[in-house]
């Protein structure tokens, strides 16, 4: 027999809180779990009363349908092409711009207004640029091409990248940078050999966040694509127009779209706060 240890009041409060939060968290994730379970049920049983949460009777029917008939691979491929290329573009362009802001001599006022202008572009309602971009790309016969969507995503990721990376650069110890310059490092060398390697973890976080933003983006995707370049969110929204909603299939596509999200959520915890606040909070 264990001797019952007398717990302090503080410990009991802690235990109670852990219990409450644990229940809360489980309830919180219930919708996602429910969608996951639904995606593995045969369509005839996907809707049931009362809701069935037990992980039994699971089949791959819906996945077979979405992979074979709805050719989800095609949409995944499109999403990957657009997301990855736009992430690379916005990172390269954004890091260079952030380098200029962080390490070169700017008039304080010019720099502040430029940076505020840049962030305000990101905060602006995307619908305001989506309509004219749709018309412009239509005129240029670029609707349903990858460059159109990639350009649009590069634009909306860019201000986010500049702000976050600028924040990471500014935090580097000044001595390192100055020492590099005194040693006769060119700016190019300073950038590739000193600044980038020292901020790689932060930049990776930015890359993941911009990837997710592009992966999830809907407004531009639905208007700038037609047939050849449709991305995953467009496929998902398409289920709404079909007669009724096929719970099993839409859940399967939904779950596929969430997988990268979960991976990202696991990896970026360290920088999540600065990532979520454009670097305003470290």
């Amino acid at each position: 027999m264990f001797k019952p240890r007398k717990k302090s009041k503080k410990q009991m409060v802690n235990t109670a809180i852990i219990l409450v939060i644990a229940v809360f968290t489980i309830l919180y994730l219930l919708p996602i779990y429910w969608m996951g379970i639904t995606s593995f049920r045969p369509e005839a049983k996907s809707m049931s009363w009362p809701p069935n949460f037990s992980p039994t009777g699971l089949v791959l029917d819906n996945y077979r349908v979405v992979f074979e008939q709805k050719s989800i691979f095609w949409y995944i491929r499109n999403s990957l092409i657009v997301s990855i290329i736009s992430v690379v573009f916005s990172l390269v362009i954004g890091c260079i711009a952030a380098f200029s802001f962080a390490f070169m001599r700017w008039k304080a006022k010019t720099k502040t207004s430029l940076l505020i202008w840049i962030i305000s572009l990101r905060i602006m309602p995307p619908i305001a640029t989506a309509i004219p971009l749709f018309l412009i790309f239509a005129k240029l016969r670029m609707i349903d091409t990858f460059p159109a969507l990639i350009l649009a995503y590069t634009f909306f990721n860019l201000s986010f990248v500049i702000w976050l990376v600028y924040g990471f650069f500014k935090e580097l110890p000044r001595e390192i940078v100055e020492a590099g310059l005194i040693d006769g490092c060119s700016y190019a060398k300073l950038f590739t050999r000193v600044v980038i390697p020292l901020t790689t973890p932060g930049i990776m976080t930015v890359a993941l966040l911009t990837f997710i933003a592009s992966w999830n983006e809907f407004l531009f995707a639905v208007k700038l694509t037609a047939f050849n370049t449709r991305t995953i969110p467009v496929l998902i929204s398409g289920f709404m127009i079909d007669r009724g909603l096929l719970w099993g299939q839409v859940s399967a596509v939904g779950l596929v779209s969430i997988i990268p999200v979960i991976i990202v959520a696991l990896f970026i915890q360290r920088y999540i706060v600065s990532g979520l606040t454009f670097g305003a909070i470290k």
Binding site: I32, S120, P125, I127, W247, I281
Partner: protein, 284 residues
């Protein structure tokens, strides 16, 4: 001197992207807003007619009202719940806290399109979780005049963790000495919270509120899959109305005029606010 010009060259690619994909399109939209212009037909110049019609449009006022209710209610609830959760979790909990944080951050990164689908299933009157939890059957949360509140609930589900994560980080960066000083002075828990804790995290709260406010104002994707603005425009926000006018009604002139007003108002609010924030907290 090349050095002097280099700094401009380095931001040039970014500027070109911004000018080409944001500023030029905005001017394009501004021009379009002076025309009666249906997509696929020739445009006819009408001056300010679109803007005047907009002020008379009941759709516009309805959307404005819905947006205000949506934003205020969602952001307020997210702040209160997020704050409460953060305060509750701000203690020694060992490995428990990182697990909860990781779990709670997942909904934030799910596409609002998918969140809309999930909640559409939850609100299903016959098989949805919502009825099951209430113990009712046949109740359609998004099928009545209160639909907007249920859309807000979906937003609160997705974004409360945002407030939680930011506020918790701020709470943990309060130097312990400050809190201990309060204890010596004999303040009660509540007083300590109001006079010491809250002021120390005010910056984080302001930032989190701002970002949520901006994001919620633009809400469109969630509504697209959850209610498509219905029933009867009951959940139609400004963003969704502009989208619908442009791409369902193909009424480009009207949609762009609305988008221009929306952007100008948001732009003024944002730049003034960021200016104030920068003077107060030096964010740049």
């Amino acid at each position: 001197m090349i050095e002097k010009r280099l700094k401009y060259y380095l931001i040039l690619p970014a500027l070109i992207i911004f000018l080409g994909l944001a500023i030029y399109p905005l001017f394009f939209a501004l021009r379009g807003s002076f025309f009666i212009w249906r997509y696929g037909m020739s445009a006819q110049f009408v001056g300010l007619k679109n803007y005047i019609d907009l002020f008379k449009s009941s759709f516009a006022w309805n959307a404005l009202q819905n947006t205000i209710v949506y934003v205020v209610l969602a952001v307020f609830l997210e702040l209160i719940i997020g704050l409460a959760l953060a305060v509750l979790m701000n203690r020694e909990l060992g490995f428990f806290r990182p697990i909860v944080r990781t779990a709670l951050t997942i909904p934030m990164f799910v596409s609002p399109i998918v969140v809309g689908i999930i909640w559409r299933m939850i609100y299903n009157p016959h098989y949805g979780l919502f009825n099951w939890i209430l113990g009712t059957r046949g109740f359609a949360p998004t099928g009545n005049e209160y639909a907007l509140f249920f859309v807000v609930l979906a937003d609160v589900w997705q974004w409360t963790p945002f407030m939680y994560v930011i506020i918790l980080a701020a709470l943990q960066s309060i130097p312990p000495e400050i809190l201990e000083a309060g204890e010596i002075d004999g303040t009660t828990g509540w007083q300590k919270f109001i006079h010491i804790t809250l002021p120390s995290i005010s910056y984080a709260i302001v930032i989190a509120l701002t970002l949520r406010f901006m994001d919620a104002t633009k809400a469109l994707d969630l509504i697209y899959t959850l209610t498509y603005g219905g029933p009867g425009g009951g959940t139609e926000t400004i963003g969704f109305l502009i989208f619908r006018t442009a791409f369902n009604d193909l009424n480009i002139g009207s949609a762009t005029s609305f988008a221009i007003i929306f952007t100008v108002v948001m732009g003024i609010l944002i730049t003034r606010f960021l200016g104030w924030l920068n003077r107060r907290f030096e964010i740049v």
